[in-house]
């Protein structure tokens, strides 16, 4: 049984957050959500044509899952856009949780940390519960924490790349230095081994989307990711051994058969 954790006073058992984009069909998405065990699902807002109705129908189906909804501000380019979209998300999704994403570069979709800090400060003051999508920069993450952000989401690698953790050193440092916030890796995960690595480092959770939604069998991958999160978390809690440079026999040396004192 995995230990539970709290996200803005909401108790979670699962360590996975799951995105709802890019699945081959709503039915496959639902299978993947169930297989993952994820209790937090991310959503977005997009322009709607009159009489389209599709978004609302999909949203009504998602609400039936009784999951915690985490709307994002994906696509926003500055703090003003993100703050406006956060207000719209709060009314539409009936939650003050917001995954704050502000794009700073079109090529690698790197977060604009300068605008992120501005938006975080404003939204925290307005009572939002900010989940800040950021880089692995320690100083930025400390500032987010100081602004009252309790969930910081550094990227593992650029969104959708599936490369895993490109900078494990910096992420390990983040965990060691920021013990009083929840750290959730967001973006760049491709494999269950990446999830296990994240959890072994002591991170509180992982947000997945592309790696599950775009693989050949999303439900199977979601299950694999779930197992990896459990394995990694248990490994972290177990207090793993430290690496060393030299071999140390695990089998007792005393009583080794055929051993002879070499006197010549």
């Amino acid at each position: 049984m995995l230990d539970s954790w709290e996200v803005y006073d909401f108790e979670l058992q699962s360590r996975l957050f799951l995105g709802t984009a890019q699945y081959p069909s709503p039915a496959i998405m639902h299978e993947a959500i169930e297989a993952s065990g994820a209790q937090v699902l991310t959503t977005s807002l997009r322009r709607q044509a009159p009489n389209a109705g599709g978004g609302q129908k999909w949203w009504q189906q998602l609400r039936k899952l009784n999951s915690q909804i985490l709307p994002n501000t994906a696509g926003c380019r500055n703090a003003k856009e993100a703050v406006t979209l956060a207000h719209m998300a709060r009314e539409l999704f009936h939650t003050n949780w917001i995954k704050l994403e502000i794009t700073g570069d079109d090529y690698n979709l790197q977060p604009n940390i300068l605008e992120l800090l501005v938006a975080t400060e404003q939204l925290q003051k307005e009572g939002f519960k900010v989940f800040a999508y950021t880089t692995e920069d320690l100083v930025v993450c400390k500032r987010l924490r100081d602004l009252g952000c309790q969930v910081i989401m550094p990227w593992g690698a650029p969104i959708g790349t599936g490369k895993g953790l490109l900078n494990p050193y910096a992420l390990k440092t983040l965990r060691e230095r920021l013990l009083d916030v929840s750290l959730v890796i967001d973006a760049g995960i491709g494999l269950p081994s990446h999830v296990a690595q994240v959890m072994e480092l002591g991170f509180d959770g992982v947000l997945l989307n592309t790696s599950v939604a775009r693989c050949d069998d999303p439900a199977k991958m979601a299950k694999a990711m779930h197992h990896a999160s459990v394995a990694g978390r248990l490994a972290y809690l177990s207090g793993a051994i430290s690496e060393r440079e030299t071999a140390v026999a695990s089998t007792p040396v005393i009583g080794t058969p055929f051993w002879q004192s070499k006197e010549n």
Binding site: A21, S44, R46, R47, Q48, Q56, N72, L92
Partner: protein, 65 residues
């Protein structure tokens, strides 16, 4: 008058936001609205005046990562 709805030019014959949304065929409970990049809460739609060439962003729930 002519306004921008999700970046498209649209002709409407009222300046009241709620009436504009109804004219355009939107279901009020399905959407949220920003006028000129400012969020307009649903409770203010009845009193919100839209002017010529104002821009409306009308958004709905969508998949997201």
């Amino acid at each position: 008058m002519r306004i921008l709805v999700n970046s498209e030019q649209v002709d409407v014959d009222t300046s009241n936001l709620r009436e504009i949304l109804e004219q355009l065929g939107y279901q009020p409970e399905d959407i949220v609205v920003a006028r000129n990049l400012e969020f307009i809460p649903r409770t203010q739609w009845d009193d919100c005046i839209v002017n010529e060439q104002d821009s409306l962003d009308i958004l709905a729930a969508m998949f997201g990562g």
